[in-house]
């Protein structure tokens, strides 16, 4: 072990973490129940013993101050976007404006019951209508449903819509094409929708292999799911031809909107020939990610897909009154309860109103500028971390860590873990799958040049350090609340809840 390493691995004094179930004491509590203000009736008469719980659920017994301290301390064991750079590719970790939290918290939004009569929810329906119109304009497709709860839920909607569309025309189509660069949600969705995944290859430029597409596009194909720019950060310039091939066999074209942040106000999926688009409001439209949700995955569709859209839909009459409409006999129905994740609509609508047309375009342009600048800075280490495809990128780019692994003995995972010690969230690693030792980097538009420089410098430093002593990165991180965890052991002998005696 080198001297540097000893210094960097100095133990951090820390008590072992305890769960909330290991804290508190019998009899402690936070909640004070309202007084029983109605005449008491024998409990057993109201709910027979056979239906009753014999023992209370073993929930914590704990005071409010303990709860607050417990969760505040837990929160400090998280890294978050408000604290530092988070260039997680395909996740669009852009700043979450606090205005959005304030407006989403207004009682008129936050305490509005989803089954309130539409007459008394006109503000909410107008907001949803306006958001639908804005998303329609951004995507270039006329009809929008806000209902899906996340991107993958939007994908499910889109594939089911395609299925319904073909069935309505008396056709049974069983295949969905996805490029080998696709997000994992794409193939998983296809199986959920009862169809078969057929993979399409990638050409040397990082786009869809047109010959392979032509060979696989036949009348069994219901749909092609595509991300453009794709997960390599490459805009597929053949998109018009791709659309022609897909439409030529009567299939639909689905746009995975995870990468929409590159093109807002610049080009539109509808104009490229897509029939269905999903948006990730928690990516391009800055709904906070919440450590794994909530998200929101509205879809926009072309005229021919409209009859199959989910219900309920929002309508506006000539007098400007809004309502929910349920009577759409060809609709695929509901994908969830109520109208969707309304709280996310409030935030994303506020965002769109803040930015306007010019601002959205500026956001995309700056996202692409920032990505290219960071790519250029990392060109200084291209010897070990070359760009996987192309020369410039859109809003994100993929580096390959293969030379780094070969020459420095550092895996992409090691680089990622060492970045933690430098106070950065690492990029997405080992995705897309077709790039060896992939590193997918998306800085977003809300980062400063200084941050991008600091990140590039950190990577340079880590590589220089590895040239001296690769063990440092191989054993990283050192400064985090815990170090590398035994993930294999966790999966082999799963402990997924606190044992309570």
């Amino acid at each position: 072990m080198s001297d540097t390493m000893v210094e960097r691995t100095a133990p951090v004094a820390q008590a072992e973490t305890k769960t909330i179930f290991e804290k508190g004491a019998p009899g402690r509590r936070a909640f004070v129940a309202p007084e029983l203000d109605v005449p008491e009736v024998d409990r057993a008469t109201l709910l027979p013993a056979a239906y009753r719980r014999s023992e209370p659920a073993r929930l914590p017994e704990i005071s409010e101050p303990e709860i607050v301290r417990h969760y505040v301390n837990l929160s400090k064991r998280n890294f978050d976007l408000d604290s530092g750079f988070y260039p997680l590719g395909s996740c669009t970790m852009k700043h979450n404006p606090r205005l959005h939290e304030r407006v989403a918290g207004l009682a008129g939004h936050a305490r509005l019951h989803p089954l309130q009569h539409p007459k008394r929810a006109q503000g909410a329906l107008e907001l949803m209508w306006n958001l639908e119109r804005a998303l329609s304009e951004v995507s270039g497709l006329p009809h929008v449903s806000l209902q899906p709860s996340a991107g993958s839920h939007g994908e499910l909607a889109g594939v089911l819509l395609s299925k319904a569309y073909h069935e309505d025309r008396g056709e049974t189509r069983t295949k969905v094409l996805t490029p080998d660069t696709a997000h994992g949600t794409n193939p998983a969705t296809v199986t959920m929708a009862g169809m078969e995944v057929v993979k399409v290859g990638t050409n040397a430029d990082g786009g869809v292999d047109l010959d392979d597409l032509r060979a696989k596009a036949d009348t069994d194909v219901a749909c092609l799911m595509l991300t453009n720019p794709n997960t390599l950060g490459v805009f597929d310039a053949n998109i018009a031809e791709i659309a022609e091939i897909v439409h030529g066999v009567g299939a639909t074209l689905y746009y995975d909107g995870a990468n929409l942040n590159a093109i807002m106000g610049i080009t539109r999926p509808g104009d490229m020939g897509f029939d269905i688009v999903h948006f990730n409001l928690h990516k391009s439209f800055t709904q906070p990610h919440g450590g794994g949700g909530p998200g929101s995955g509205p879809i926009a569709v072309s005229e021919r897909m409209e009859p199959y859209l989910m219900t309920p839909r929002i309508t506006r009459d000539d007098a400007g009154a809004f309502d929910l409409s349920f009577d759409h006999p060809k609709s695929i129905g509901r994908l969830r309860g109520f109208q969707g994740n309304y709280g996310t609509f409030v935030r994303s609508y506020a965002y769109i109103r803040s930015l306007g047309a010019e601002g959205l375009k500026d956001a995309s342009e700056t996202a692409v500028l920032n990505a290219n600048y960071l790519l250029a800075r990392l060109g200084e280490v291209a010897e070990h971390l070359p760009l996987a495809y192309g020369r410039i990128c859109m809003h994100e780019f993929v580096l390959s860590g293969a030379p780094m692994r070969r020459e420095l003995g550092l895996k992409t995972l090691d680089l990622a873990k060492r970045l933690l010690d430098f106070g950065f969230h690492p990029p997405t690693v080992y995705f897309p799958l077709l790039v060896d030792e992939a590193l997918l980097i998306e800085p977003t538009e809300t980062e400063t040049k200084e941050t991008l420089d600091a990140f590039a410098d950190a990577i340079k430093q880590i590589l220089a350090e590895a040239a001296e002593d690769p063990e440092i990165a191989r054993n990283a991180p050192y400064t985090t609340p815990v170090r590398r965890l035994d993930e294999a052991g966790a999966a082999k002998r799963p402990v997924i809840r606190q044992p309570l005696g």
Partner: protein
């Protein structure tokens, strides 16, 4: 207008120079001209923060929220009090702004919250396995259908008509995709008709679905319904539960339930006009490796310290792709945090006390409304927090709701097919509120 960016003219020049290009436009050269939007997007112009706030406030003011009326609407989401500490914790940057915990070393807070949440859901349901959340109640139930389809491949689902209509509709939508027929079994006296239930079950039945209490508020005999399914054998028994009712109801794990799902909103989440909330998903050990969604597990780091990771990821889309148990990726982690904090805040005794209070007040309300001339219970089954009453023919429920609303009372959800009202009680509806409801309803009917 702010785009929350920080690139100055000087920055831009320096960056472009580093790139060796003249303009930002050159970076978009890969997009064919024919596909370029040759005009600005047709959107309202950007506005400063204070003006956006004013606009959003104005929209909020055109909604009648639970703050503006005495509300008795439930039907799947309930106006429970959300304690202030939840607002504080859910708005902390460290919980609000990270992504899914892909890097466990810097995500121990979120991962431990998931682990605690899973523990709480397991305790509540008496089922050993819970995931870290799914989207919400109805899609949780539909996802249980997909689990059943993958588990036994049988072509038919049998669903009680007491299951929330949104859940049944969502199940039908999902089943249209993966291929299953959905057969609905009617209610008798407010609960699932046991004879029709038994008659609907056979060896082609892949899964059964009940809800407890059901959509009409009635407590179902879940154990008996599941026993009937056991006679067939190999059926995945799914039940949707109201988590608040689980304070006093026999838990699903003791009623033969294989997969328990439900809407998590009543646990410390706002109404938010229907979302975001969370769905919970718990199961017996046998379905551990078929669960959808994230699961956090306990482990140790290289120094032997206790820690948590996302585990059993070989079920998931990012690893298994087309062979995944679900396509779910982003779920509802922040809302599940609200859920577990709420359960800790209520605590072991509090959840029971809340259940008993609702039981008493709901009984009182049912009696009070049924004392009105012409109003009768839709069913006489035990109820915990919600019940349905039929209104006299001369008083169409839609009109009655409007008349009550004029008096500042939202009397419940209109069930037009039965000319009935579905009335929900929470701890925020006092006896005085219930008396006011009875008074206003009586006038509205007269």
């Amino acid at each position: 207008m702010s785009t929350y960016t920080a690139v100055t003219e000087a920055d831009r020049s320096a960056m472009l120079e580093a790139l060796g290009v003249e303009s930002v436009a050159e970076l978009f050269a890969g997009i064919p001209d024919a596909l370029r939007l040759d005009r600005p997007l047709d959107l309202p112009p950007g506005q400063p923060e204070q003006e956006v706030y004013a606009h959003l406030r104005e929209l909020a003011a055109r909604n009648v929220s639970a703050e503006d009326e005495i509300g008795f609407v439930g039907g799947g989401m309930y106006d429970h009090y959300v304690p202030a500490l939840i607002d504080m914790l859910m708005s902390r940057s460290e919980f609000l702004t990270p992504y899914t915990p892909y890097q466990p070393e810097i995500s121990q807070g979120g991962l431990q919250v998931m682990f605690e949440y899973q523990t709480a859901i397991s305790e509540l349901t008496a089922l050993p396995v819970a995931n870290a959340s799914v989207y919400e109640g109805p899609s949780a139930l539909a996802s249980a259908g997909y689990l059943a389809k993958l588990a036994n491949g049988r072509p038919r689902f049998v669903v009680s008509a007491g299951v929330h209509p949104h859940s049944i509709e969502t199940l039908r939508t999902y089943a249209f995709g993966f291929g299953a027929e959905v057969v609905e079994v009617p209610l008798r006296d407010g609960v699932t008709d046991p004879d029709a239930w038994r008659a609907a079950l056979d060896d082609q039945t892949g899964a059964v679905f009940v809800q407890n209490p059901n959509f009409y508020g009635a407590v179902e005999d879940v154990a008996a319904l599941n026993a009937a399914a056991d006679e067939v054998g190999g059926v995945v028994k799914v039940a949707a539960y109201d988590p608040i009712a689980l304070g006093i109801l026999k838990p699903p794990g003791e009623c033969g339930v294989d997969v328990c799902v439900g809407e998590g909103q009543p646990l410390g989440n706002r109404l938010d006009f229907g979302g975001p909330s969370f769905g919970f998903f718990a199961a017996t050990e046998a379905y551990l490796r078929r669960m959808p969604g994230r699961i956090a597990g306990e482990t140790r780091d290289v120094d032997g310290r206790r820690g948590f990771v996302l585990t059993l990821q070989t079920r998931e889309q990012h690893i298994r792709r087309e062979k995944a148990t679900s396509n779910i990726c982003t779920a509802q982690a922040l809302n599940a945090l609200g859920g577990v904090v709420y359960l800790a805040w209520l605590g072991r005794q509090g959840l029971v006390e809340l259940g008993e209070l609702l039981l008493q007040r709901t009984h009182y309300a049912r009696e009070a409304l049924c004392a009105i001339d012409g109003v009768e219970p839709l069913h006489r089954q035990p109820v915990i927090r919600e019940f349905a009453v039929r209104l006299p023919e001369h008083a169409p429920v839609a009109d009655v709701v409007e008349r009550c609303a004029e008096q500042g009372v939202n009397p419940g959800l209109a069930l037009e097919a039965d000319n009935a009202l579905l009335v929900a009680i929470t701890e925020q509806r006092s006896r005085a509120d219930i008396d006011r409801l009875a008074e206003v309803l009586q006038e509205a009917i007269a």
